[in-house]
């Protein structure tokens, strides 16, 4: 019943609007108010439109500046990585240049629309071209852009250059709809080989247990990284495209099935430092997915923990190797590597350590 009444109301309003339109257009016909600018005559709406252009331009620019300054804190994310500072700087330089250009051109357009509205007595200026002007506004943007390109290229080349030998290597794997991290382990500090055909519900990395480097690799559902040390993320995906995105670090790189990718960065603030800075003790760095990957794309989250290097090392030492958590998989280890596997996975004490301790 309510729907019917609402529907009838809408129809009634539409009918009234239509009648108003009909009446006003008949009136304007009898008054010969110009819908046709045939002899160059225009009606009063011309100056209204001209004025509106100026008003809307000024109001729009004012709103833009007001919001941008008032809510600056709300829309800028704090940065917590070395290269993030560079890219943010380039971002704000570009912002400065473009905002000036945008404001000036918008304002001039609004002005011209208002200033040069139709006047019967005036004639437009026949001004088909001017090579000097054309040249000027080809060269000026070209020079400005060249500077922006140059700064951008330098940052890009640094960001994408190979990581240093000492970098902390961590593998991050995307799948529908979660991220997991694999650390190279406390014994050999090298990631073991993997093969997607070895993946099963338990061996979610597809860990290749014929490679001795895989024995001490461990899994984590949080991404722990040390502050102030270069971290090289090795990124891969199991099923479809994902994109590893850590907003506060200005890190983003697609995870591609069949094509491992990587991204290196150095965190500059621990989670605790950021919590203090933001006065929010619940703050966490978050890793999100930025490439559409299916229904729950929007919930693919991993917590990132940045710690002081000592804390980070201590955390690492506490982690159990994947093989230790899943000793069933020892049977996949070749016979000659069984002992190494037991030691590296932490299932047997390391005789070397005992010897060292004995001394």
């Amino acid at each position: 019943m309510t729907n019917l009444i609402i529907g009838l109301g809408v129809v009634l309003i539409l009918v009234i609007l239509f009648l108003l339109y009909r009446i006003s257009s008949l009136v304007s016909l009898t008054k010969k108010r110009g819908t046709l600018p045939d002899d160059g005559r225009v009606d009063s709406s011309n100056s209204t439109n001209a004025a509106l252009f100026l008003i809307v331009t000024i109001a729009g620019l004012a709103g833009f500046f007001w919001y941008s300054f008032t809510y600056f804190e709300d829309y800028t994310l704090p940065v917590a990585s070395v290269h993030g500072k560079w890219t943010d700087t380039i971002f704000w330089i570009t912002m400065g240049v473009t905002v000036v250009a945008f404001t000036v051109i918008s304002f001039i357009m609004g002005m011209f629309a208002y200033r040069y509205q139709h006047r019967r007595e005036r004639k437009a200026k026949f001004y088909p071209d001017n090579h000097y002007l054309e040249l000027a506004w080809t060269i000026i943007p070209a020079v400005v852009l060249a500077i922006l390109i140059f700064t951008g290229l330098r940052a890009w080349n640094d960001i994408t250059s190979p990581a240093s030998e000492e970098a902390e290597v961590i593998e991050v794997i995307g799948q529908q709809f979660a991220w997991t991290a694999r650390y190279p382990g406390n014994k050999d500090n090298t990631l073991g080989k993997y093969n997607y055909k070895l993946i099963d519900p338990v061996n979610e990395f597809g860990l290749d247990l014929t490679d001795k480097n895989s024995f001490d690799d461990f899994k984590s559902l949080e991404l722990h990284v040390p502050k102030g040390k270069e971290v090289l993320l090795k990124i891969r995906a199991k099923d479809v495209l994902h994109s590893l995105y850590i907003p506060h670090f200005r890190v983003k790189m697609d995870a591609v099935p069949g094509m491992p990718t990587q991204f290196k960065f150095t965190a500059t603030k621990t989670t605790q430092e950021m919590r203090d800075e933001l006065r929010n003790q619940n703050f966490n760095y978050e890793l999100a997915c930025a490439e559409v990957c299916g229904a729950a794309h929007f919930s693919m989250k991993m917590i990132v923990v940045v710690e002081e290097p000592e804390e980070y090392e201590a955390w690492k030492q506490k982690q159990e190797a994947w093989l230790k958590q899943n000793p069933d998989y020892l049977k996949k280890v070749p016979a000659e590597l069984q002992e190494v596997a037991l030691i590296k996975a932490g299932l047997q004490p390391d005789p070397g350590l005992a010897v060292a301790a004995g001394k």
Binding site: N49, Y116, P128, N157, G258, M259
Partner: protein, 627 residues
């Protein structure tokens, strides 16, 4: 002129029948449905484009409801969406992705490619260059009807049980290749691919026609340097489309193979739904290269016609020649060429070699130069003009404004260092919706308002046009401007909800504002629809040349029949922008007026041309003697 005798021939033919045109216009079917008349085909494209724009807009409102009012109960949409509304009264997250995907596909391809180029290239090219019709009327008809079949398939895909394609309008595999990954990649994706393959065929048929017509069928005196900028824009658009669409076709074809015939062009090392797939050796990044090899030129396929249309309208209504006619052509040519070598700027963080990233960043930012030249030239055209704010003019200025504000953010996202953070965030959404979405859309609306009198012989109501413009102009900015802030804050696109992340937990207010603005802007389009259909039948009858314009289409009768001019095709003696020429009686001199009739306003070099003009409309080619 190589074309002269063709015109003589057709001219004679039409002279015979010109006064009694009706008897060879055929019945209803050949006149309105399977018509070979470029004007009818243009209208078919236009109506289909408007239909798709409504569907595409409606889809965007549905997902804006979810984003702007995440807590609202959408149970009332169940009659429309059925099972896609969950038991909790929310839009299903997978259907949300389908909405986003179909909104993009429909708007980019069906509205702004077919609806824009299809309408205005078809309508304006023959009328503005002085041709009876397209080079091949039959191919032109075929182009529309193949597009129609593509439309039907795409439309059907909206209603199937597993839902339409849902992997984003870019349909990146593996997501789009694996029904296990998302249900939209089942039948919905198959229909999407078949529909797009047909769509591409249709665009190629159209494009070949546009190019041939422009090159071969210009009337006497219509040299390339006397062509209106609209025709130049359509010409470049068709060339860009012809060269890039086949690449998308190959990508679609290979994806069909991967999906249905077990090949591994794009698939490799995949473990999904508890099973390791056999595909090895394919490259998901290869698809992205192929897709964007069309995808980026596509941006200009969408934008160039709008640039052409608005150049024409702004010059006409400023009563001034377009400033820098040759620079305008040059920058369009430059943009068209560069558009082929920038595609990988969509892929800075796709995992491709970073060195490629530097090259593509360099090439991308170069495009800003010709774009800037165009903006400056538009503004200078307004300077010291005598501006008449017709609805077409309003939308044209609006288009320049969007081109400016959306283009300028391209300098951010084209810079690979900045793009790391902005890629796939709302900043990008804001950028391309302004620069290619809204700008092209406004170009299209400007064109409709401007050429409606020629299409239907009646005027659209100007006041409704003003209201439509101001709501849409402010509305579009309210929708897309706030998205810049949301994007700078890092919000990723294609997110059903942001509440899972503390980082993305703010901006409820801005998102609500955006959604409300989107609803209002969409509603305002019904003012246009009413105006459009009402004026088609009941509008004021249009005079021959309502905007006092110089171009050839206004020399045809009020309702031109098939063949456009009842008599001979007029000859052209001057460029199309002789507005407000010093010394001239009126503030416009149509292209058909010879210099010999306007000694009072001729420039010195134009007086030279007088002796080359012939009195007859056809024929004689005079060889200039320099002595």
């Amino acid at each position: 002129m190589a074309t002269t005798d063709i015109h003589v021939h057709t001219g004679v033919h039409h002279d015979d029948h010109g006064h009694e045109h009706e008897h060879h216009e055929g019945n209803f079917w050949t006149k309105y449905i399977f018509s070979e008349d470029h004007k009818v085909i243009a209208k078919q494209y236009l109506i289909t484009g408007i239909f798709w724009a409504l569907i595409g807009g409606l889809l965007s409102l549905l997902f804006r409801l979810q984003l702007g009012f995440p807590d609202a109960n959408l149970e009332w949409l169940r009659p429309l969406l059925g099972g896609w509304i969950t038991a909790q009264g929310k839009i299903d997250p997978e259907f949300y992705l389908a909405l986003v995907t179909m909104h993009g596909t429909i708007m980019v391809f069906f509205v702004l490619t077919a609806g824009l180029s299809g309408t205005f290239a078809n309508f304006l090219i023959p009328l503005q260059i002085g041709a009876r019709d397209m080079a091949s009327g039959f191919m032109n008809m075929l182009s529309y009807w193949i597009f129609f079949i593509a439309s039907v398939l795409m439309f059907i895909s909206l209603f199937i049980e597993t839902g339409p394609a849902a992997g984003g309008w870019t349909v990146y595999p593996p997501l789009s290749a694996l029904p296990q990954a998302i249900s939209g990649s089942g039948l919905g994706m198959t229909l999407w691919l078949v529909s797009m393959a047909l769509f591409i065929a249709s665009q190629l048929l159209g494009g070949i026609n546009y190019i041939t017509t422009v090159i071969n069928m210009r009337t006497h005196g219509m040299s390339f340097t006397r062509m209106p900028l609209t025709v130049w824009a359509m010409f470049f658009t068709a060339i860009v489309g012809l060269l890039s669409f086949p690449v998308l076709f190959s990508a679609a074809l290979l994806l069909i193979f991967d999906r249905s015939f077990g090949t591994s062009f794009f698939l490799s090392d995949i473990y999904i739904a508890g099973e390791a797939l056999a595909n090895v050796g394919g490259s998901a990044v290869l698809f992205q290269h192929l897709f964007w090899f069309l995808g980026h030129p596509e941006v200009y396929i969408v934008l160039l016609p709008a640039l052409g249309i608005t150049s024409e309208i702004i010059a006409t209504n400023s009563r001034k020649p377009i400033f820098g006619y040759k620079a305008m052509i040059g920058s369009m040519l430059f943009i068209a060429i560069l558009s082929f070598v920038v595609w990988a700027h969509h892929m800075f963080v796709s995992g491709m070699n970073p060195f490629l990233g530097s090259i593509f960043m360099l090439l991308t930012l170069i495009i800003a130069v010709p774009s800037a030249v165009k903006i400056f030239n538009y503004v200078t055209t307004l300077w010291q003009g005598n501006i008449r704010f017709t609805p077409g003019m309003l939308f044209s200025i609006g288009m320049v404004s969007f081109f400016l504000s959306g283009g300028i953010t391209g300098i951010f996202v084209g810079n690979s260092a900045i793009d790391i953070q902005l890629h796939d965030t709302y900043f990008v959404v804001a950028h391309f919706h302004l620069v290619m979405g809204s700008a092209s859309f406004f170009g299209m609306l400007a064109g409709i308002y401007h050429w409606f009198p020629k299409m239907f012989g009646r005027m659209m109501d100007a006041r409704l046009g003003y209201i439509h413009f101001w709501i849409s102009f402010v509305g579009v900015y309210m929708v897309f401007f706030p998205m810049h802030y949301i994007g700078i804050a890092g919000f990723p696109r294609r997110y059903y909800s942001w509440t899972n992340f503390d980082t993305f937990s703010g901006f409820f207010d801005l998102n609500m504002l955006v959604s409300i603005a989107a609803i209002v802007t969409f509603a305002a389009q019904f003012i246009f629809l009413f105006n459009f259909f009402y004026s088609m039948f009941r509008g004021v009858k249009a005079p021959a040349n309502p905007w006092n314009s110089n171009t050839l289409e206004w020399t045809t009768p009020r309702n031109p029949g098939h063949g456009n001019w009842p008599g001979a095709i007029p000859s052209v003696y001057r460029w199309p922008y002789d507005y407000s020429k010093p010394g001239a009686k009126d503030d416009f001199i149509p292209q058909t007026v010879p210099f010999s009739e306007t000694p009072e306003s001729n420039l010195p070099h134009e007086n030279e041309l007088v002796r080359l003009e012939t009195s007859g409309n056809q024929g004689a080619v005079v060889v200039e003697k320099k002595d």
